[in-house]
Subunit: 352 residues, 2 copies
Amino acid sequence: MTALKKKQITLKDIAERSGVAMMTVSRVVNGTGYVSEETHRRVMEVVDELNYRPNGAARSLKRQRTETVGLVLGDLSNPYSTVLANSVREHLAVRGYSLFICISEQSAQEDITAFNSLVDHNADGIIVATRSNTGGDKRLEAIADSGVPVVVVGRDFRHKTVDFVSADNLTGGFEATQHLIDLGHKRIAFLGGNYESRNSLKRLQGYLNALRLHGIEADKRLITGSRETSSRVPGYSTEKMGYEGMKRLLSLPDRPTAVFARNDFTAVGAMLAIKEAGLTIPQDIAIVGFDDTPLALHTMPALTTVRQPVGLQGQLAAEMLLNRISAKKVLDRVERVLDCELIVRSSTVVAV
Amino acid sequence: MTALKKKQITLKDIAERSGVAMMTVSRVVNGTGYVSEETHRRVMEVVDELNYRPNGAARSLKRQRTETVGLVLGDLSNPYSTVLANSVREHLAVRGYSLFICISEQSAQEDITAFNSLVDHNADGIIVATRSNTGGDKRLEAIADSGVPVVVVGRDFRHKTVDFVSADNLTGGFEATQHLIDLGHKRIAFLGGNYESRNSLKRLQGYLNALRLHGIEADKRLITGSRETSSRVPGYSTEKMGYEGMKRLLSLPDRPTAVFARNDFTAVGAMLAIKEAGLTIPQDIAIVGFDDTPLALHTMPALTTVRQPVGLQGQLAAEMLLNRISAKKVLDRVERVLDCELIVRSSTVVAV
DNA sequence: CTGTTAGCGCTTTCAA
DNA sequence: TTGAAAGCGCTAACAG
């Protein structure tokens, strides 16, 4: 007969085998308090022999903390998520914290489920990097209210005890558009949103600001995106959106001479549509993306794009969260908005 | 004064407030056992009012299970990981299990750390999708020995109680090479490995098998990859490897007329090197990738590649693991190797 | 239908 | 330097 699951080795087992009290074993295992050389050695011997590992649930229950942090990620397929996750993990690891990632790609319900499983398993804090949505926001607010440390990354969410990290999408969008204007473009499209979403979509807002500054009137027909208002289309499917949106733009009587796409995936889709129409980039239509994903280097021509400091966002998020976790009192909201950088390549300028 | 972290609401609080025993509250919350309409209503009222959530640590400690599964992922930036993770999550969700993802991109140490944090936090089972390495394997073996359900996906690892899911990389590699041979190629390179790794690298093995079958002698100079023996280069950096490897191949006195790249990223890098050398794909050099990432559709020309059923791997992994978790006795190892499919595009055949 | 008791494995506190 | 007792929050098992 085969045992289903071997009985877990406990402190008690180690204590009995090594002839000391549980408490002593605990001290040895945790390296806390005084234990004689000799006892330490004897205990460790048994620990190694039986391959003892402390039970996390019991420990958490008693200690009321898990040394664990949760990260809720939306679109996993976006390199952004990858870089962010790795950065967060690295910076947590330095302080001895483990990272558990939950995915929430589709709906508010998934957000809530992810938050709950993290909270229920007593994560010491949560970093949220999904798009905001009312259902999720409401739950997140309750979680923050209950005292769980929370940091949001690039998510529109305000709460008096929730820290906020983000790239400066407003200025990024502004600079991308400014760049196109500097090149002499007047009919510039925004791809990946609709005019109504301008308040939540900072990149679109930056685009509008740049136009206004230069006395170019915004043309709503040039602002196009997916049909769903709250577009939560993940990764490569935004590419499809870019492709389709570009098709619409191309069919306009007075088509744009330049396009600012909300991200590189969208830009890639747009490029495909432009090429299919037999037009040349950037001569016929110039295009700018956002994010500077590795992708951007390999499009033909290489994509001009706005780079955002993703690793830094991860680092700051981790640090802010750890700060909150170890704080002795309730900290006020901290907000960090990080500079972006325009990377000019051949999709806007011929000579590069 | 602001409380640091609000005292957690417990069963006891609910019990007191609603004037019943803790056990009754527990029954209401879990929907187990008989509770009168009236009591149920009263308890739920208090539960909602105080926003009670059961403490997972306490529950796990008592129940000895967490309804939680861990997934250890290597290269997050590979679309493969994304699709796998989502598939696993979906299929777990149906059965009420949460998924926690851990990343291990670099080293055996990271693998071990990830395994440990999952085991220590009492995950009910673990799915491992990182590349195998001796350190990780050793720890994984110990974990499996201790009775924790484990499933490996595409990872070379044999253990009598660890299930195995993988694409049929051997046949996939064979068919990719066969395809090139069918097109008349004789000097076919393998990009992304060295001859010595042929035992662990099934795709390379398939390549060698195809050559042998057609009486083409393998030329070690045509088998090239990264310099590190155990190549654990993640995502887009394998692209760099493809680029560099291709450069080496192009500098050969008798350069190949076709290349089979171990994955699409590598293939993309190779394509770049080929174009830079002023050569045409597929006329001068034909190229086949592996994985059919979304990328493959957007290369110029579109990439011929081998598609593997990633979603299905996730589904099977989830099912096998749940099966193991709920099994009444120790199950023997199950192995599922899934068919791949050659997708022919313009990087090998002009007319397509 | 509801309540009581005991204990999951660990660590905090106090005592020796 | 070591140990004993109590209890974290929950639920299985048994009583009523």
